[in-house]
């Protein structure tokens, strides 16, 4: 259940770390990136690959919020509602996204396209409110922009384009 690509990436950085367990966070990141979530099967495979008991893998995977242990939508709309964003109207942005998508935060749309997540500080307080769509940051987001972002993501998804990974293109620096 581990793709060759993931194995190759992890083998490529193995020499950088003194222990096998140090590769656990990196391998979970790779799994999350490739499959969109971290399934029990992939945790077992990661354990086998790194010679770690699956209990250890699960213990770690469940600690960190970036590893999703349940499948989520293709586009994860993450809205920061912590203090600086809240002071600048993040609750309105969140309510707008909830209205637009017809779901509460923490839920996924029925078509499996969008998941709406309320997140804590993204360290973009100077350009609040901040929203992260999959891996991309958007700052100074207002309700209008939030609607446009969702529309754009929906169009890109329908056109078969990858959404929210604009900074990860090979050979191109953000």
């Amino acid at each position: 259940m581990l793709s060759e690509k993931i194995k190759k990436t992890i083998n490529g950085i193995r020499h950088q770390f003194p222990t096998e367990q140090a590769l656990l966070l990196p391998i979970l990141h790779e799994i999350q990136n490739e499959y969109g979530w971290v399934s029990m099967e992939s945790m077992k495979a990661a354990g086998e690959f790194l010679n770690l008991p699956v209990s250890k893998v699960r213990e770690v995977a469940s600690f960190y919020t970036m590893y999703r242990l349940d499948p989520i939508g293709k586009v994860d709309v993450q809205i920061c509602t912590n203090i600086s964003c809240w002071l600048n109207g993040a609750d309105k942005v969140l309510a707008c996204a909830e209205r637009k998508l017809g779901i509460h935060h923490g839920q996924t749309t029925k078509d499996g396209k969008f998941t709406l997540t309320q997140v804590e500080c993204l360290a973009a307080c100077g350009t609040a409110p901040a929203v992260q769509i999959n891996q991309d940051y958007f700052e100074q987001v207002d309700e209008n922009m939030m609607e446009n972002l969702i529309d754009q993501a929906s169009r890109d998804l329908d056109a078969g384009k990858e959404v929210g990974k604009s900074t990860q293109k090979d050979g191109e620096w953000p």
Binding site: A22, F63, Y64, N82, I83, C121, C125, Y137
Partner: protein
């Protein structure tokens, strides 16, 4: 205009608004880049440590510990039980996540080589050949930019074997966090770096003895490293002079919330909070009500307390802290109970759960604030909040519990009238049912 400090000049951010400032060529040609490293490699490690000590540089991550002293704690020639030499590790804490703090992100995107140079100098000073940069995982873009900066530094021979012909080897590796605020605590960070749950460790042993992978390690903040090249290049005196008696240099202050020009400003430390708000364009949308001076964990200050200076000692004297330099401004339209609740929700979510005082306490506090907002609060609650805080602060493995009590306690102490009003009125909407309070607390879902 308000920089009434003749010695002040920007140390870290002189060119952050110039296009292309993040490239290695710009750093080398326009900013005297890697000259500090050249100089440091000709000095003995102890001399470098001494230079940093005399500069009065204090850790910029939050605790404000003197950096030179931290470096001097590293053992000179550590050996294992069989007498074989142990490696030493240098770790950069780039897990920036304290609400209100966004200065390290500026360094990552605008002047990454300054930090890299600072780390190489640090590696030389403590006798380490390997460094890790622990970056928060949400920063996909910043991680790639930093990787590019590292590649460029390797290509020019500033990293790798025999740096600038000195015989000193140093490697830097990026390690991605995965969305846990607690990993900004240095021992939690070390656990996370080992691929474990990010739970803080009991101290002692301190990281200088048993750190990453069981080896002596030194953890510093991004901004701390970024200040080091200047200190070595221009000399400790120049840096020390800019600051106060017990704290040298400049500080990056991230101003956010209700101001006209929220941004990161590099400032001398002899400015008051009022001065800084003025620099950030003044309060927007109303009059000044409260300020959190050093990231969410710092106790808040009322408007009438904002004449206080922003150096470590003055803020400590005022009962708060300089913390991570995140200054959050709130105007008088803000309900303090609600504002504090947004912070407590955050702490409730981020408590790692090791110590009961913190795990339970952060939940209880968040629920009590919610109850007051919903109209189920009582006068007794206000004293009870203080009691819970008293059972949390100083009772746990790390300082997280203390951080929770910062906003909780200060808000009740300084804005008690507002709490009492909410209790009397029956919550924000005035529809609370006080008699059901105890039931609500047990079954409340926040």
């Amino acid at each position: 205009m308000m920089y009434n400090n003749e010695h002040f000049e920007p140390v870290i951010t002189p060119n952050v608004n110039v296009p292309g400032c993040e490239t290695i060529d710009f750093y080398l040609q326009k900013e005297n880049g890697y000259k500090g490293l050249e100089k440091a490699l000709k000095m003995k490690p102890a001399e470098v440590v001494d230079e940093v000590k005399k500069s009065n540089l204090r850790g910029r991550g939050g605790a404000g510990f003197p950096t030179g002293m931290k470096w001097s704690f590293m053992p000179a020639n550590p050996v294992d039980a069989n007498g074989n030499p142990k490696p030493k590790y240098l770790v950069c804490n780039a897990d920036e996540g304290e609400p209100g703090t966004f200065k390290d992100r500026l360094i990552f995107t605008k002047t990454p080589h300054r930090m890299i140079e600072g780390m190489i100098i640090g590696g030389h000073a403590i006798g380490s050949n390997k460094g890790f940069i622990y970056i928060r995982g949400e920063w996909f873009k910043e991680i790639r930019l930093m990787q590019k900066a590292l590649d460029d530094a390797y290509a020019k021979g500033f990293l790798g074997k025999n740096i600038l012909g000195s015989g000193f080897d140093f490697d830097l590796v990026i390690y991605k966090g995965a969305g846990a605020y607690i990993c900004g605590e240095e021992t939690a960070l070390l656990n996370s770096l080992e691929g474990k749950r990010g739970e803080p460790r009991l101290k002692p042993p301190f990281p200088a003895q048993v750190g990453a992978y069981g080896m002596p390690s030194c953890v510093n903040n991004v901004e701390t490293f970024a200040a080091v090249p200047y200190i070595i290049d221009k000399g400790w005196e120049k840096y020390a002079k800019m600051g106060t008696e017990r704290s040298g240099g400049t500080r990056l202050i991230g101003v956010s919330g209700h101001v006209h020009k929220p941004a990161v400003y590099e400032l001398p430390m002899n400015l008051s909070i009022n001065d800084i708000i003025e620099i950030a364009g003044g309060v927007k949308g109303g009059k000044l009500k409260a300020v959190i001076p050093g990231g969410a964990s710092a106790p808040m200050l009322r408007a009438d307390e904002c004449h206080v200076l922003t150096d470590y000692d003055s803020l400590a004297k005022a009962g708060t802290m300089a913390g991570s330099g995140g200054l959050i401004v709130m105007n008088d339209t803000v309900n303090i109970v609600e504002a504090t609740y947004t912070l407590l929700k955050f702490y409730e979510h981020e408590s790692c759960g090791q110590c009961s005082q913190c795990r339970e306490g952060s939940h209880w506090l968040a629920r009590m604030f919610k109850r007051i907002l919903d109209g189920g609060g009582t006068q007794d609650d206000l004293d009870y909040i203080a009691k819970i805080c008293g059972n949390m602060a100083g009772q746990t493995i790390c300082a997280f519990a203390d951080a929770v009590t910062g906003p909780a306690l200060s808000s009740v102490r300084k804005f008690r009238g507002e709490f009492e009003e909410l209790v009397a009125k029956g919550g924000l909407k005035g529809i609370g049912k006080k008699e059901s309070a105890s039931h609500k607390l047990v079954g409340a879902h926040v």
